[in-house]
């Protein structure tokens, strides 16, 4: 191209020169994008983990805490089992962190356990009934209104409590959060609440001035601790990231998840 050409050519040349810088920038962006894309393909996207655990900590707070501690994962925390069920169906995650009874539901059969939470070396914790003003008479169990945290819906919880207490057709009062169980006793909407034994002193006694009674359940009812389960088609790389990240959670965060360690089942 002749630089000294008159009129329109100069005009044309001038246009080309003006556009040279953006083209170079575009080329650089393409190069960087290509590099990043290549790197993403090599490493895969962050594994998506859905968490549903009944807790007093609000879901967005737990999500923020977990996400800060697990930057290699993409974490979403749900505060209600129905929201969780819906989200798993609509946009299946790579993995879920849920109480063991939830992971065992038929609808989650495509998830395979890769980590089990433990507390003092056990994968389950004892359940007790807590009553106010007087201990529970075991002979009256069938007549009692039993408060439980609803992790599986009315039908699921009805069946679970029937099995745990070994009675037919229990009168259950399902609630969404652990703190709600105490409210049930306070306003006398339940005669007894079913809670993990470890929470009696650490939570219920501390929060309430009611005269509370601890009633063991005959036959030793227990509840499975949280587990991490992955979708069967998830890659080994993603599984490794999930196991490593969850196992490195510190004491404080594990306590909030009601475990003290994570082991490979």
């Amino acid at each position: 191209m002749n630089r000294n050409a008159p009129g329109p050519q100069r005009e044309l040349k001038s246009t080309v020169v003006r556009n040279r810088t953006p083209r170079r920038t575009f080329a650089k962006i393409l190069l960087v994008a290509g590099f990043l894309l290549g790197s993403m393909v090599a490493q895969g996207p962050k594994p998506k983990l859905y968490v549903y655990l009944p807790s007093n900590i609000r879901p967005y707070t737990m999500q923020r805490q977990l996400q800060e501690l697990c930057p290699e994962l993409h974490i979403t925390v749900f505060g209600h089992h129905r929201e969780f069920d819906k989200a798993v169906k609509a946009s299946p995650p790579h993995a879920v962190l849920v109480p063991n009874p939830v992971a065992q539901r038929p609808r989650y059969r495509q998830f395979e356990k890769i980590l089990a939470g433990t507390l003092e070396g056990k994968r389950e914790e004892a359940l007790i009934l807590v009553s106010r003003d007087a201990p529970v008479n075991p002979a009256d169990l069938k007549a009692l209104r039993i408060g439980v945290v609803d992790i599986m819906g009315w039908n699921g919880m009805h069946a679970m409590v029937a099995q745990q207490l070994d009675i037919e057709d229990p009168d259950i009062k399902p609630v969404s959060r652990l703190e709600d169980l105490l409210s049930l006793l306070q306003v006398r909407e339940a005669d007894a609440i079913m809670v993990p034994q470890g929470m009696f002193e650490t939570y219920y006694r501390r929060r309430s001035r009611l005269e509370l009674f601890k009633n063991p359940i005959s036959g030793g009812a227990t509840m499975g601790l949280p587990v991490v389960a992955v979708r069967e088609d998830v890659s080994d790389v993603a599984r490794e990231v999930l196991v490593r990240t969850i196992q490195q959670l510190g004491k404080e965060q594990n306590t909030r998840l009601r475990v003290d360690a994570w082991e490979v089942p």
Binding site: R58, D150, R177, E189, R209
Partner: protein
Amino acid sequence: MVSAIVKSILLTALVTVFLPTAYTGQTDAGKLLVMRHASNNFDAAFDGLIGGLEDLVEVYDFRVDSGTTDAAVANQIDAKQPDMIVLMENLSVMKYIKYQESQPEGTIFPPAVILVTLYVEQLMPSMKNVMGISYEISGINSLGSLRYLVTSPVKRVGVVYSPYLEPFFLDQKRECASEEFELVGIRLERENLEPRAIKRALRQLLRKEKVDALWVLNDNKALTEKNITRGWYEVLRSCKKPILVGAENLLELGHLGVFPNHYTLGELAASLVHETYKNKWQLPEKKLRRPITVRRILNMKLAKPAKLKIRPAALLEMDIIVE
């Protein structure tokens, strides 16, 4: 043009009133008619109800508004022959009361449950075969949240209330005693529902009664706009004691707001449908239920200037923190 608009409005009204939406369910189990306001104010409660029912019954969503006639309500109930009715919000309850009153003596009404309606216990005596879920959160529940939130002692709690809330206040006083809360109430005289009386009552509680905290009830009569700005606000803005409020629009007056969670109110109604179904469509013995799950909002904009000492762990349990 006008006639087209009128036709369109009529058609919409017909669709709204006479053709309720049916939700899937086991038709052999039963039919549930949900009467609720045509506005979408309480959709979360409706969603909680549908979710909690787990397809137990076939649900008909019957939207009403101020224009819904008594005949339309009667037609709907006659046509659907529901096994149970859920009434959401005051308007639906008022329409249903009129429906019951219009029926001949000895009519057997299907069991009904009322929710998201203020002071439902005051409406229930005039109705037949109903039970209700209170919209007001129990003091024992709300004050428990306040006691855990602040490090200062919360034992004596001051309450200013209108005469119509006296039965509610006395119930709360009795119930709260079991958690060692002592409610100290000042009842406003009917003729004194004005800012000056409210200010005097609040100052008496803070200075003479030396309460540890104040609880502002969801009291329509004492909480008119004039009373809020010239009465409540004038005393509470400089109050250094923790203030609990029972309605979302009162959050500017208090440090902690504890309100019903609408989704779980719907779920609670669903569990009452389960219970009633199990009991061959007979309502359970206990006719008034309390909301259990709450939403907590901490107003740090007021808590900070009041120099309230907040427990860090309690912050994790707040649904919203207003900074």
